[in-house]
Symmetry: C2
Subunit: 252 residues, 2 copies
DNA sequence: TTTGATAGTGTTCAAAAGACACATAGCTAT
DNA sequence: ATAGCTATGTGTCTTTTGAACACTATCAAA
């Protein structure tokens, strides 16, 4: 979100932005990365937003989203997918706090801006080993505890969540949220968190293993105070084969 | 596409347009509504485009799409759904013919424009009783015969088709393409056309009837040179009940 | 009255989904 | 060392859903 970046200010398109709903998972619950307006005032979710920026006239939308992500997380090759465009004429600037923020960061705070929303999935520990609280200027918030955001970002978050839920039933994108090596229980928990419902353990394991996209590493967890679990990794090759044949339902 | 409409030219946002992929069905195949650049030169699909326009700064994206649709078809209350945003910096103006067209219709033909694409479903006879050929300035083209379009509209068409295919498996939106009263064979044919594959007749009928969203009108086709078919209509009430319970798979 | 064209109808088999309970392995605390 | 805690890992049965398949019925036209 740095207006004084290498690129010239004039190249920023005043009417089009991208916003990124960045999801993370800490093996316990689903998080979303939020930034706040930097105000000193009392905490309020209405001041938090998902990261975004106006686009440059030289980049396409995916590139703009990738740039925003990289500036914030320094991670490249992140899973990224468009949610859609949001363009209510009053989508920004409805709230008093929105306007203050806009005046601080935008050369033309009154411009009508439509935004193209993306969601992305990151391995939380790779970016930030601890989930920060709302009080920080950028931090992870549990998705379940977010009820309001700046601008129309709450609506965007919900749309992103909806699309993630739909997508995860169709393609195994959830691995982007897990460490390289993970247990079936962790994967199971991830699906339950995203879909927000319980899934039968045995049925889940059967189904996911039958897809043949997991490699059993013949390696076990160590140091856990219970029976250690087998570790698995995502098998990219088998997945690609599967994708080509056009599977389109996990059935969760 | 009239720049001299009631609204003032200045209100047109130079950077954002909407484009509408309008699908129609004539009980035999699926069509898409295309307009051409009005040139006198030899026919070329590369001169055809789906209807669209820059948005006004006072309207939201859905309203802009609705306006474009209404200007072209005079139909309101059309089924409309966003496909997504397309924003390659070179998406318009790559082809020579694109640039000619842009210069004719745009106040700022060089501006970088991102577009928000929609698809909509209309009852063809309500709008235009005959499918016009490509030669007309606005007409229906069989989707299967479209291989190239102006700008990035071919890509947009394919994205719309993909979304329509996905959606029709999940929600019974196909009725928007059929007359109020229709036969099961017509519905069957519609699904086959959209999904581009054969569906077993008996299985299709069983499944669609089990959804309980059709009312048998106890009325038959007349004047057909074969056994006349029962007429049905879409049962909005039952569908709403069903939607609330959240059914999400027809399973075609 | 024969022909051509589409409507309409059930059963059987295979595959997938859903429900369900107990023994196991490692750590920890005593 | 042993008892207890905790999460792992495993199989069967039932129900539901999907897929394959062929013949008779009705109307109009020739």
């Amino acid at each position: 979100m740095n207006l004084q970046s290498k690129k010239n200010k004039q190249e920023l398109n005043p009417n089009v932005s991208v916003d990124c709903v960045i999801f993370g998972f800490d093996l316990d619950q689903l998080y979303v990365l939020l930034i706040d307006s930097g105000s000193n005032e009392a905490f309020s979710q209405a001041r938090m937003a998902v990261p975004g920026d106006l686009i440059f006239d030289t980049e396409n939308l995916d590139e703009a989203a990738t740039r925003v992500l990289k500036e914030l997380t320094s991670i490249e090759n992140i899973y990224l997918e468009q949610i859609g465009a949001f363009g209510d004429p009053n989508r920004i600037g409805k709230k008093e706090s929105d306007r203050e923020w806009l005046e601080a960061i935008r050369a033309q705070p009154e411009a009508r801006v439509i935004t193209v929303a993306y969601y992305s999935l990151v391995r939380m520990p790779n970016f930030n080993p601890k989930a920060s609280s709302f009080a920080k200027s950028a931090g992870w918030a549990p998705v379940k505890e977010v009820f309001d955001l700046a601008f129309d970002h709450y609506e965007i978050l919900q749309a992103g969540l909806k699309q993630l839920r739909r997508k995860i039933k169709i393609q195994p994108i959830g691995f982007n949220l897990l460490p390289e090596k993970f247990t079936l229980s962790q994967l199971h928990k991830l699906y339950e968190c995203i879909l927000d419902k319980e899934l039968d353990k045995r049925n889940f394991r059967r189904k996911i293993l039958n897809l043949n996209i997991l490699t059993n590493l013949d390696e076990k967890q160590v140091g856990v105070p219970h029976k250690p679990s087998q570790l698995f990794e995502f098998n990219e090759e088998n997945y690609k084969k599967l994708s080509k044949e056009g599977f389109d339902n996990f059935g969760f």
